[in-house]
């Protein structure tokens, strides 16, 4: 009998083009997603060396990082415009399909891949973006790469990769009411640190993971990189299959049923072993808020900001001190007392229709606190259209939120959506690094529900105690 295998090993073995002892494997790439920021130098490299894109049909490009979310047809920033124009020209020259700023498929690359059914179980997927791990939610092996590797994949449809170690992130029990996938992944990173996944591919397993929707699974896998893991995935099951049914690039009809069988057979075998395992109990997790300058610096909403004098080591002490100073927080202060200036609902972590619906439920019939500027940025043009069909835009706008066009937006502020110096933002994105949302901006990562409630109250509130008004 064959040895039981993890999904990671199965996908890996199906993609090895060349293996030599003591070297990385040459791995075939099924899908290469491309955006405007990390690709220009790669296409230029191809041009300089007279090389072509080997498989334009396995490559898909969009514009997301730079795009304005208001008046998107007028791009004031000429450098941004040049970068987008460059992608347009490169895609024309190299025959790469592109969902540009005017295209109905445009959106954040990690939102549109799944939405179009390009993302499928068992695929190897790369993109010049660290949040490519998102696609792992479908049981794909998906990871971020640098621009030199983008060029390499464009030219060869392969990449040199050392076989990764495998790590089982086992989530026992169930998440409590009001506790979301975002809280779970923050709690995991908070507990095990921002580098526990370095050198590993993570597989998330356990009851709490299996009961998550695909949107929740994407939120989890998206933040694998914040734990240091280039890739994190979840074995495909019926939830995965049903999400993909009918998606444009997914197999159709009988082919779909065949594919579904094949996908489910990729799931990790009973008895397969991992190089390492960590465990966490879902029922102990509360809604989380980050207080510091990396995603591991998070606490339950009922908690207090850490005190550096309680730190375990000198380096931890100085790290906490630096973070408190940057964040303008006092050691020991309750996080729920912290007043906020901005709310950002969006990003490849939490900008899908399900996320927007949950946020809309919280704010329905209420008003954004006068001290708060709140924006909603749908993850894709399709999400925007679908949300408008359900009237979510009206709910947000009536509450005082700005309803924007799709893009990466204030997650990293490469467009005009920047949080000003010293101001504080409750954000559904993935990184609270110094300056991430703008030089001097202070980011607190939370779930869409927590962000919505914070917009109403002007400070962090425990969503489990927040009274949601009954709809009319």
């Amino acid at each position: 009998m064959e040895m039981p295998k993890t999904i990671i090993e199965k996908i890996w073995e199906q993609h090895v083009v060349h293996h030599e002892e003591g070297k990385p494997d040459l791995l075939y790439i099924d899908l290469h997603l491309v955006h405007e920021v990390t690709s220009p130098q790669a296409f230029e490299g191809l041009r300089l060396n007279g090389r072509k894109v080997r498989r334009p049909d396995r490559t898909f490009a969009t514009m997301d990082h730079n795009v304005p979310t208001i008046h998107r047809h007028v791009i004031k920033d000429q450098i941004s415009k040049t970068q987008m124009d460059t992608l347009q020209k490169n895609c024309e020259e190299f025959n790469v399909p592109l969902a540009d700023i005017h295209h109905p498929d445009q959106g954040i690359v990690h939102v549109i891949g799944p939405e179009l059914g390009l993302t499928q179980p068992g695929k190897t997927i790369v993109c010049g973006d660290s949040h490519t791990s998102t696609h792992g939610a479908f049981g794909a092996l998906a990871f971020g790469i640098g621009t030199s590797e983008v060029e390499h994949v464009l030219a060869t449809q392969t990449i040199w990769q050392a076989r990764p170690k495998t790590l089982n992130v086992k989530v026992n029990g169930k998440l409590g009411t009001g506790v979301t996938a975002k809280d779970l992944i923050l709690a995991i990173i908070g507990k095990f640190g921002v580098k526990f996944g370095t050198g590993y591919v993570l597989e998330y397993t356990g009851e709490a993971i299996q009961s998550l929707s695909m949107e929740g699974r994407m939120t989890i896998c998206n933040m694998s990189i914040e734990a240091g893991a280039r890739a994190g995935l979840i074995s495909p099951d019926d939830t995965t299959v049903e999400f993909l049914r009918g998606k444009r690039h997914a197999p159709q009809g009988e082919d779909f049923e065949k594919a579904a069988q094949k996908w489910k057979s990729l799931a990790t075998d009973d008895g397969a072993t991992y190089d390492a395992t960590v465990e966490i109990d879902a029922d102990e997790i509360e809604p989380q808020v980050t207080w510091g300058t990396n995603p591991g610096m998070c606490i339950p909403v009922s908690g207090n900001v850490p005190d550096p004098t309680q730190a375990k080591s000198d380096s931890e002490k100085s790290e906490i001190r630096r973070a408190l100073e940057y964040m303008g927080l006092e050691a020991g202060q309750p996080i729920a007392a912290v007043k906020i200036d901005h709310v950002f609902i969006g990003s490849c972590t939490n900008s899908r229709l399900a996320d927007l619906k949950k946020a809309a439920t919280i704010i329905s019939g209420q008003k954004v606190n006068p001290a708060v500027t709140a924006i909603v940025v749908p993850g894709s043009h399709s999400v925007k259209v679908a949300a408008e069909k359900e009237g979510l835009d009206i709910i947000f706008k009536e509450a005082g939120f700005e309803w924007r066009d799709a893009g990466c937006s204030a997650c990293l502020g490469m467009n005009d959506d920047i949080i000003p110096d010293g101001e504080r933002c409750a954000s559904t994105s993935n990184r609270n690094f110094e300056g991430r949302q703008g030089a001097g901006a202070r980011t607190h990562l939370v779930s869409p529900e927590m962000a919505a409630a914070a917009a109403i109250e002007g400070k962090f509130v425990d969503i489990r105690k927040f009274s949601v008004p009954t709809p009319n």
């Binding site: 990390t38 230029e44 730079n66 640098g146 621009t147 030199s148 030219a155 110094e434 300056g435 991430r436």
Partner: protein
Amino acid sequence: MEPIRKHEGLVYPLNRSNIDTDQIIPKQFLKRISRQGFGEFLFYNWRFDSKGEPRSDFSLNFPKYNGTSILVAGDNFGCGSSREHAPWALQDYGFRVIIASSFADIFYNNCTKNGILPVQLTEDQISELIDQAEAKSYTITVDLENKRVYDNHNFDASFDLPNYQREMLLNGWDEIAVTLTHKNKIDKFEEEREFS
């Protein structure tokens, strides 16, 4: 890319952990479409104030580190975004070697594709290098052929890195050209998969 075999240079100590690529080069500088000229934006928000004036309290601005080419930092260096602009900025500023107690995976890879040598040493060895470089003008030699880091006195440490990356760095190979020597295998792989 330019090969790197042995490099002697002035050490710049940056005693922090989890230095993410957003700090190495902030997002507002990622809009260029060339690989050149990112050095002036290296550690921008730490090096410059809101008016664009150099901050006198950030050590890279200290005259004693002028001409540095070896950066020594703490744990998990280069975490976060996959932006290759980070190694481009480090290289353009003049860094050829980054020494840290651990590196983020994508950043590590990106360095080796650009002729920057990432060297992993123990926390104690890092502390020693940082202490020396904070106290005085401190020069060390990094020898990739023999996988050694040493100074003119007592410091002598060995390091490891995967042989593949070592060969690439030593020879400055164009990786795509290397891969294309396996073109037949890629063709065959595609044929078998698509017609099976």
